[in-house]
């Protein structure tokens, strides 16, 4: 099959490369802002990961080793906060920032300055939240869920708690503004010919994620503002002793909190949906079904919040059990389409595809334990035990983290112009896979044996001790894997030992592979005609009917 020559971006568009401090501080370029988001999120990943290593070291043996309970409480609070809000959220927004305009053929985001504002607010939010460690009484210590009345001033008087609230308010505002920007960009800046049903799946997942953000983050912001008013101005929104309602906090928090899980996982779904067809050399199977499943997951995520509240006894367990289990259906549709895409494809297991395989198996385990927890009798038995911790980490570590590394392996060559080392990437993958399973799989058993989460000390029960030792060893494996990734990035990209990527190292399908690596300022000098969901493939293979994908 003959390939047609690709047009090159104009020279004047390539003239604005180079990174100086002033350029970073004043940039409105979505690509640089995306990279700033990714770098910041990775930094929070390292910080929050370090906190978890300290916790694992403490839990390796019964009794208190080198931490006291108060410090341990701060560590797990800021570990959860850092991972959920500032690593997971930052990565999702960062990937979306970098890739969305490229995927839809736009020169930038719809509101470039607003985009810059969101990053600086996000960074400030993270720094303020973590600055609690520098205060006299330490950081917030009531868990990343901030349950009232524990989070009220009478029980958590530390300044770090207020800083936690303010940090989340700042970053939450950034996230809301970012979602508005994403939706406006998708709705108004798509390349000609790119109808909604010719958008890449990743773009669809960004759209649905943005919708979830718009409907859920304002609720969190309102709840945080109420909590701050309680703590600093003497109100009693969440204080039952003064006529408030602690359950109201749980409703508000989980109305945000459960969609947040899908905010953190839908874009990874999109990443997987982009990588599988490229490494299977096939069009995506069931494009419309995948879009429908994405929308359905987003919709259902708003009707499941109180499955986190089964044991309160004041919610309709039947309603939330049914809606929670229903989410398995569209998720199953996604798995089916991914497997069908690979079926009889010319599979290549380069590093991005390996991470996708890891994602599929790890997220599947998290997905299977989800319906168990959606069953109230089982939830009553394992509520607040390590079983929940295991489930949560299989979903968000096995899902989001594996997809993030897949995305790095897939798109870093586009961002930097250099390939990562395949050998280091594959070693890192296996280390991460083994480390993750060693860390989180035994937690299921630990939970079934009754060990509660969020405790710094535990009785010297042989089975608990052995499992905790295994878990702690596994966490070292994860740390080594992340370290290896950093080495790979420095060696391949910073030291320029990686081979040059070229414009399209993987034979990609969507528009980001049409432009140079890295893309020039404002992305494109010209665009191919968009006639299907695979415009770059169509341009290179004009002999193939592009309409076949639409049908």
């Amino acid at each position: 099959m003959s390939e047609q020559a690709l047009p090159r971006p104009d020279a004047h568009l390539q003239a604005s490369r180079g990174v100086g401090i002033l350029k970073v501080l004043t940039t409105t370029d979505h690509k640089l802002i995306g990279v700033l988001y990714l770098a910041t999120a990775f930094a929070f990943f390292l910080i929050a990961g370090l906190l978890s290593l300290v916790m694992r070291a403490e839990l390796t043996a019964p009794g208190l080793q080198f931490l006291d309970e108060a410090t341990y409480n701060q560590l797990f609070t800021m570990h959860g906060t850092g991972m959920v809000f500032f690593f997971g959220g930052g990565m999702i927004i960062g990937l979306s920032n970098y890739l969305l305009p490229l995927q839809i053929g736009a020169p930038d985001m719809a509101f470039p300055r607003l985009n810059a504002l969101t990053f600086w607010l996000f960074l400030a939010g993270g720094l303020v939240a973590f600055s609690g460690f520098a205060t006299a009484q330490g950081a917030a210590a009531f868990g990343w869920t901030g349950y009232a009345p524990l989070a009220e001033a009478t029980r958590s008087p530390e300044a770090g708690a207020n800083l936690w609230i303010i940090g989340l308010l700042l970053s939450g505002t950034a996230t809301i503004l970012g979602a508005v920007n994403f939706i406006a960009t998708i709705y108004t800046l798509r390349a000609p010919g790119m109808t909604m049903f010719r958008m890449p799946i990743l773009t669809w997942t960004i759209l649905v994620t943005s919708l979830l953000i718009l409907l859920s983050f304002p609720v969190l912001s309102a709840a945080l503002a109420m909590l701050l008013i309680d703590r600093t101005a003497g109100a009693h929104f969440f204080d039952p002793a003064a006529g408030g309602s602690a359950i109201l906090w749980q409703h508000l928090f989980w109305f945000f909190g459960h969609p947040e899980v899908y905010i953190l996982i839908l874009v990874p779904f999109g990443v997987v949906s982009e990588i599988i067809p490229v490494f299977s050399r096939k069009p995506l199977f069931g494009y419309h079904a995948l879009v429908f499943a994405t929308i359905l997951i987003g919709a259902l995520s708003f009707s499941v919040w109180a499955h986190h509240m089964f044991t309160t006894g004041v919610v309709s367990n039947l309603f939330f059990a049914i809606t929670s289990m229903a989410i398995a259906v569209p998720t199953g549709v996604k798995f089916f389409t991914w497997i069908a895409t690979m079926w009889r494809g010319k599979l290549r297991f380069d590093t991005p595809m390996l991470y996708v395989m890891g994602f599929l198996f790890m997220f599947l385990i998290g997905g299977i334990t989800g319906p168990f927890l959606a069953s109230p009798p089982i939830d009553y038995a394992v509520h607040d035990t390590y079983y929940v911790v295991a489930h949560f980490h299989y979903v968000l570590f096995g899902g989001t983290v594996f997809a993030v590394f897949a995305a790095f392996a897939f798109w870093l060559p586009k961002m930097t112009g250099r390939m990562l080392s395949e050998r280091l990437g594959k070693v890192q993958f296996w280390l991460l896979l083994i480390g993750m399973n060693l860390t989180f799989f035994p937690m299921h058993q630990l939970g079934l044996l009754g060990m509660p989460r969020r405790i710094a000390d535990y009785p010297p029960i042989d089975s608990w001790t052995l499992i905790n030792v295994i878990v702690s060893i596994g966490s070292v494996g994860i740390a080594l894997s992340v370290l290896l990734f950093a080495v790979n990035v420095v060696w391949s990209i910073a030291l320029r030992h990686g081979r040059e990527a070229g414009d399209d190292p993987w034979g990609g399908y969507s528009l980001e592979w049409w432009t140079t690596s890295p893309p020039p300022h404002h992305n494109f000098a010209s665009l191919p005609r968009v006639r299907s969901v695979r415009p770059v493939f169509d341009a290179r293979h004009p002999e193939i009917d592009p309409g076949a994908d639409d049908r």
Partner: protein, 145 residues
């Protein structure tokens, strides 16, 4: 209605329906209000899109068939997943018609001001007041630049 509008219409309808079901199952106020707010938000966007971007594409010239078929077609147009129209023949805007703002220091100054203003709640008005001033100045500069 375009797919852009249908996306929010489905959202609003889903939240409305599930909100009604939830209310009668639980009689719980907080969740019902939140779902009603989500439905309202979805419908507001639909309204903006319909008013701002009127589009009759995909609508039949006159109704035909049985009432049931017409109703089903209407539901399909409003909530379905068929592409109603495309943009096949338009030229790419990257030919130079789109103007984008250049570098700007106002976003980082605004963020810095907002951070000062809010952290002043913890550390005192000596941070809040300059923070508010900084936000006001930067917003003014942003808007007028």
């Amino acid at each position: 209605m375009t797919e852009e509008g249908r996306f929010f219409l489905r959202t609003g309808l889903y939240a409305a329906v599930i909100g009604v079901v939830y209310w009668f199952v639980s009689y719980e106020v907080a969740g019902s209000v939140l779902l009603a707010a989500a439905a309202f938000a979805g419908f507001v966007v639909v309204g903006v899109l319909v008013i701002g971007m009127p589009d009759g594409a995909g609508m039949p010239a006159r109704p035909s068939g049985s009432p049931t078929r017409r109703a089903l077609r209407l539901v399909n147009r409003l909530l379905g997943f068929r592409q109603l129209h495309g943009l096949e023949d338009e030229q790419p805007f990257s030919t130079g018609t789109l103007r984008l703002p250049g570098a700007s220091s106002w976003p980082i100054v605004t963020a810095f001001g907002a951070t000062l203003a809010l952290t002043g709640i913890v550390y005192g008005p000596w941070l809040t007041i300059p923070g508010i001033v900084l936000v006001a100045v930067s917003v003014w500069g942003w808007v007028t630049s």
